[in-house]
């Protein structure tokens, strides 16, 4: 059962081949058996999952089932879930049981999904390897000595290991696409504003966006359908119509113009990964697409721009964690300042502290213009590069990451080297564009991600482009051998 897609499982549930309760128990047993080693989940919610599965079975019996009714998923632990611990991967929120649901959680529940639990993640979504989590690293199901990527590493590993049919993720600089690439699954970061951020714990508010992490583009279309749409509770949520993402998946790619930015194929890209991506692009040419060389001249500014903008916004957002209203409080504070300082000093991990300090510094008197204002200007340059590119092409393609999954611990001592892992993903966040990562041909048994970036609100197009590839290839159907000892 666990090897089937949402489409297949949904059909089987509606045909009465098995119940959602049976399906849910099956996944719960897999979690029980396999997750001790992978550490993809922080919290499991078996009782609640069985209640939701029971309701799904009722809906199915009454003929009221939708595409997602009864499908077991996991939620990234960045989404507030009423009555369930919502830690954001941090000691700061280890004791936090959310009093309300995120819009994404609410919408998926209304769509009938069963939530198996909350997925592990880098602390406050700051990391590219899932090693900054207070709950320990997640292991990559393809090689347990390697990282799953981050920050949505638990979500990616859970889907890759078939501990859940699908998962939610969030992407601030690549946190859906990069772990999707390293774990061999499909991950979509929608246009900024496409999915409500209400109840999604904020890291960098002008960059954060939630999206689906699934085995295929077809499944991603179904999940996004339920997640997307206007929400008055998020003032940056876009009031744009949500198209039927599934209806255009099979559209022909004849005449599709694919832009290949030369900056995404230069120094730093592993030659074997480059070859896998080139092979994927050749397949698109056989499907009738035309490849056009393009340039994103300011691509090199994306990582440095991000490491001003994201920390600046994070230092502001994370000021709410002060030990007063919720979250961790230090023992026996001697005065208010001591309460703030020790609660934050003890509650945050090293990477979060680094980013808060960089942001605090960049926003401090005398440095604002040199750092924050400058980065907002270079952000504009990066965004304009894409604007010009999309005058010539329909989609942009390239690798999601420069290499396959790296070893656990390999980059933890050097933050800047870790940051460069997001070199191809960050620009889409700065510009606010949608991007998807889907599996291309693996290299030495490790997954490789092909990234497709689209113009604003063209999720339907990039899902279509991804789906057509998946109709021709089987890379997305490969599964890791979880019985293999590493």
């Amino acid at each position: 059962m666990h090897d089937q897609s949402i489409v297949e499982l949904g059909a089987a549930l509606r045909a009465g081949e098995f119940s959602s309760v049976e399906l849910t128990r099956h996944f719960m047993q897999r979690v029980e058996r396999l997750d001790g080693d992978l550490n993809a989940l922080i919290t499991t919610t078996p009782e609640q999952a069985l209640v939701e599965a029971g309701s799904a079975d009722q809906a199915i019996k009454k003929g009221q089932a939708g595409a997602l009714t009864g499908i077991p998923i996991v939620q990234k632990d960045i989404f507030c879930t009423r009555g369930v611990k919502t830690s954001c991967g941090s000691k700061m929120l280890d004791n936090f049981v959310s009093p309300y649901d995120a819009t994404v959680v609410e919408r998926l529940r209304q769509a009938g999904v069963v939530c198996l639990g909350k997925a592990n993640m880098d602390e406050f979504a700051m990391g590219s390897s899932n090693e900054t989590s207070f709950y320990g690293p997640v292991r990559n199901p393809w090689d347990r000595e390697r990282v799953p990527g981050g920050s949505s590493g638990g979500s990616a590993a859970a889907v890759a290991a078939r501990l859940a049919v699908a998962a939610t993720g969030t992407d601030t600089g690549g946190s859906i696409r990069q772990p999707a690439a390293l774990c061999g699954i499909t991950g979509l970061k929608p246009t900024y504003g496409r999915v409500s951020r209400f109840g999604m714990i904020a890291f960098a508010s002008s960059l954060d966006q939630a999206g689906p992490m699934t085995r295929s583009a077809e499944d991603a279309a179904l999940l996004l359908q339920a997640m997307a749409g206007f929400d008055p509770r998020d003032s940056t949520c876009a009031n744009e119509t949500v198209p039927d993402y599934s209806s255009t998946l099979r559209d022909s790619l004849e005449g599709l113009k694919i832009g290949l930015p030369r900056e995404y194929f230069g120094e730093g890209l592993d030659p074997a990964v480059a070859a896998s991506i080139q092979a994927a692009i050749h397949l698109y040419e056989r499907l009738g697409a035309r490849v056009i060389d393009i340039s994103l001249p300011n691509a090199g500014l994306a990582v440095p721009t991000y490491y001003v903008v994201a920390p600046a916004e994070c230092s502001s957002n994370l000021s709410r964690f002060d030990g007063v209203r919720f979250g961790y409080r230090c023992e026996e504070p001697k005065d208010l300042e001591d309460l703030y300082k020790r609660s934050r000093g003890e509650g945050f991990g090293a990477e979060v502290k680094r980013r808060i300090m960089i942001g605090t510094y960049a926003l401090s008197a005398g440095y604002y213009d040199a750092y924050y204002l400058k980065a907002q200007q270079t952000r504009h340059l990066i965004s304009d590069d894409f604007k010009q590119a999309f005058e010539q092409v329909d989609v942009i393609m390239g690798p999601t990451t420069p290499t396959t999954a790296f070893g656990l611990g390999e980059k933890m001592d050097d933050p800047v080297t870790m940051y460069l892992n997001d070199i191809y993903t960050i620009a889409a966040n700065l510009a606010g564009l949608p991007g998807i990562s889907l599996p291309a041909e693996p290299v030495n048994g490790l997954p490789v991600g092909l990234q497709i970036i689209g113009n604003y609100f063209t999720e339907a197009k990039i899902l279509n482009v991804a789906h057509r590839f998946q109709q021709e290839t089987e890379w997305h159907e490969l599964t890791p051998d979880l019985n293999k000892q590493s």
């Binding site: 004791n95 049981v97 959310s98 009093p99 309300y100 900024y192 504003g193 002008s206 960059l207 940056t236 876009a238 009031n239 300011n298 500014l301 440095p304 721009t305 490491y307 000021s319 002060d322 007063v324 209203r325 919720f326 409080r329 504070p333 005065d335 208010l336 001591d338 703030y340 300082k341 020790r342 934050r344 000093g345 003890e346 945050f348 090293a350 502290k353 680094r354 300090m357 960089i358 605090t360 510094y361 960049a362 401090s364 750092y371 204002l373 980065a375 907002q376 200007q377 270079t378 952000r379 504009h380 340059l381 965004s383 050097d414 933050p415 800047v416 940051y419 510009a431 606010g432 604003y456």
Partner: protein, 95 residues
Amino acid sequence: MSLDHSDIEKIAHLARMALDASQIDAYAEDLSDILGLVEQLEAADTTDIEPMSHPLHMAQRLRSDEITEDNRRGENQAVAPSVENGLYLVPKVIE
């Protein structure tokens, strides 16, 4: 831009974050490396470029001035470290 021990102490104070004294030098090194990366921005010509604060160049939406939330003080305070009579407790501020 290279940051030293006292810079880190100052920044950590601004961020109201206590650091282990033994880790301050390591933070100084890491933050200096990160600022080294950020310095690449200096080479970019941004004359007359508008700063971009929002990806969709949207104006902030307005809503009518109506109460839309229920009073959920009890639920919200249930997760607070210390409350009494509906108030959040902190160490004494005024003697």
